[in-house]
Symmetry: C2
Subunit: 456 residues, 2 copies
């Protein structure tokens, strides 16, 4: 009658022994696009195709036990390098501790389904190219693991590859931020949080940090002035300390740094002025996550389940990775099913209504769709995102259709086009971290589908 | 657009530095009842009541961050000591990596519900006592987290406490073994596995171990002769090596032992003869898990989902904890919702039928219900389980009602009484590991309900 999961058996190499390649990777992955070099040229030199790098083809974690060179472990540090990451994006819970976002006990509400076979052949011109490409070709070019399109709430396109199918969960990466931002905007719209309040008045522990005298709105819009270096060639860069703080693994005996996301946030120093410019930094989302749990008593995982996941007819539970004190990673730890990601898009498109029920105050969505300040956004200098803005942790294209997005590294996306009444949800495992690598074959592809649907 | 879960940051104390108290605990929890001293008297001396030790009352992991003395971490090693374990039983996924057992995309099938208010007041005589107790009183006495009773498939009793409610998952502990055994019996009944085959013919890696010349049937019935010490006062006991092998945490640099459940199983030496006596040892279940994945190409998690979880109208996904190479802990790592645990009981009661559909070959259930060899069981000397037997990793009471059970430490149970057409599913977090502590206030309570229902 006796058996238990194993007791913790201590271990690994000291922090200083971490390979430099790993350091680079972590920084890359946590980092902000602007301070990074252009999309990894080494990877581009000899890229395996989507088919060649398919996890099933490569046999990651297949066998009992898998061959030694096919095992992917969190502690080995290379679990998020290409091509291993193509397996990892579907299996975070097997590598790390997680917290569930329950779908509750309500019925599953499937989308009405009318597959439109002509979408695969829609042609578009990739940014910076003179050679057209079809929507179907872009699927593999972008190492897409799954893509769903809704038109007027009806599922008209659905395709899976790699590690994903309709019963699996996939890493949403920084799409996580948009969910955290959405929860924040809900609380603002409901009057639970005053977005003009200084962060220190809500989370006194942040009073001594750069966040202390920032407003909640500045955090929501990522216009905080933060000293936060993501120079991956510098072993003392902030991104390193952040990464160490958030690791769920035990810290080395001689470790002196912060031991959780919250601990890290308290140490962030100010750089420049708040409110002056958009600066995309993951730590804003975790600061917002702290504000949310402090104000509501509920973590982003619990609140997301209560407010949305358990009420939208989700097909699958979702989950977040957690740090060593159980805090969900509000900046990038979310994992979910693709159709459920599309449901979030449909909820945004519907102004907070889904299946005839209001889940979110209309004002919260309206605020996001109105967008942030394009002038502040322009200072961040995204060559491919000219004229865009950012607010509530969503990306606003400011195009004529009023499209807006949630975006995560390696190609995660929710693209909502109100004029076309279209939602696109995509999971991917592009070898290149930055979306600057896949935007040229994604953004115009989305626009082409919108053009096609607009007349229907 | 960039953010990632944190990279692994190495750390903890060397193996030898693990506190002795932890050593004792791990051994206790993994260990076999027979080689252990009577239920921990120290704990019995000053026990907190169920109410006093309620996780919400004690505030484990409450707050953002929780106070330092309210944080429960896997690596701290005391996560499964009382009273912390009362939180942990509902939150294993927040402490360890896990693998999902998906419920699929089918509809939830709720039990018909006719609550019988008289059950709470049913009286029974605890074993070894002269003072009667009511069923309702036994709930807290046994630190029950949830208990469901089905009669003829109708839900007639449901009560939760502690960390659990109808939307949560709870550790099943060694009830896991019965699910592993059930999968094994299914494969035997279908002819996929010959239960007379020697283990080495199916898993050649086990040829040099004690399992090599055991038959699958001996593994299924735990009549293998294994040298496997669970003397927790001995720091070199096998249970220690097993625990270290199965830990998902990185191993210390100087660690020389086995690095996974499979690696450990290869090292087990023979003691005595196979087939002579029942000897309850967790490693049999993990050996069976290895046989299952080798024969089917599917881990117990995947197979359980495909064969049962996705077909029974489960209300919740379930999950297993995994070791560092992703192997589900087939001996004790299962976690599920209480009603779904009851569904398993109903499936067993129905001879493999549920909701009018056959999920399991009748022969598999028939074999289990026929029981094992009581003479072999008697040699294991369970004073409270006189006349019982064990087969297919299920406990057979051999009472006149033909009742049989799945049992896990700290009070986990599925109790199936065919004569009364009754299923009881219980999750608990009793401070005492061995079920010998709660059997006196559980087994006669179950029998009392069966007596009550038999005439209805």
């Amino acid at each position: 009658m006796m058996s238990l999961p194993p007791a913790p058996i201590p271990a690994p190499p000291p922090l200083r022994a971490l390979p430099r390649r790993l350091a680079a990777l972590v920084a890359l992955s946590l980092g902000c696009a602007m301070t990074l070099p252009p999309p990894a040229r080494a990877e581009e030199a000899t890229p395996m195709t989507a088919q060649q790098s398919d996890p099933a083809t490569l046999g990651w974690m297949v066998g009992a036990p898998p061959p030694a060179d096919k095992i992917i472990r969190f502690s080995d540090g290379d679990y998020f390098t290409f091509p291993k990451l193509r397996w990892t994006v579907c299996h975070f819970r097997q590598l790390m501790p997680t917290i569930g976002v329950g779908r509750g006990l309500g019925p599953l509400r499937f989308f009405e389904r009318k597959i439109d076979d002509s979408i695969e052949g829609l042609s578009f011109m990739p940014l910076g190219s003179t050679k057209p490409m079809t929507f179907g070709d872009a699927f593999d070019v972008n190492y897409t693991d799954g893509l769903v399109i809704l038109h007027k709430g009806v599922l008209i396109y659905e395709r899976y590859a790699g590690c994903l199918d309709e019963t699996g969960q996939h890493a949403a990466m920084s799409v996580t931020k948009s969910l955290t931002g959405l929860l924040g905007e809900i609380l603002v719209a409901e009057g639970t949080i005053d977005d003009k309040a200084k962060v220190a008045t809500l989370v006194p522990e942040l009073a001594g940090s750069a966040f202390g005298d920032a407003t909640v709105r500045q955090v929501l819009d990522m216009t905080t002035g933060l000293h936060y270096s993501e120079d991956y060639s510098d072993p003392n860069a902030d991104v390193w300390i952040y990464s160490a703080a958030g690791s769920p693994l035990p810290k080395p005996a001689d470790y002196k740094g912060p031991r959780s996301y919250f601990d890290y946030l308290k140490t962030v120093r100010k750089e420049g002025e708040h409110g002056a410019a958009f600066g995309y930094k993951t730590i804003n989302s975790d600061a917002l996550g702290w504000i949310i749990v402090r104000v509501t008593g509920k973590s982003v995982a619990t609140l997301l389940s209560e407010r949305i996941w358990s009420r939208m007819g989700a097909e699958l539970d979702a989950y977040y990775t957690v740090d060593s004190i159980g805090t969900p990673f509000a900046g990038g730890g979310f994992n979910a099913g693709l159709r459920d990601l599309a449901r979030i898009g449909q909820l945004m498109l519907g102004g907070g209504m889904l299946n005839g029920e209001r889940l979110i105050p209309e004002a919260a969505i309206a605020h996001i769709r109105a967008g942030g300040d394009p002038a502040k956004f322009a200072k961040a200098d995204y060559p491919l995102l000219k004229g865009w803005s950012y607010t509530g942790m969503w990306w606003i294209t400011n195009n004529p259709n009023g499209a807006f997005m949630a975006r995560g590294v390696h190609g995660q996306a929710i693209y909502i086009d109100p004029a076309a009444q279209m939602v696109i949800a995509r999971f991917a495992s592009n070898p290149v971290t930055s979306n600057a690598a896949n935007d040229p074959t994604s953004l115009p592809a989305y626009a082409a589908v919108a053009d096609y649907l607009k007349d229907k």
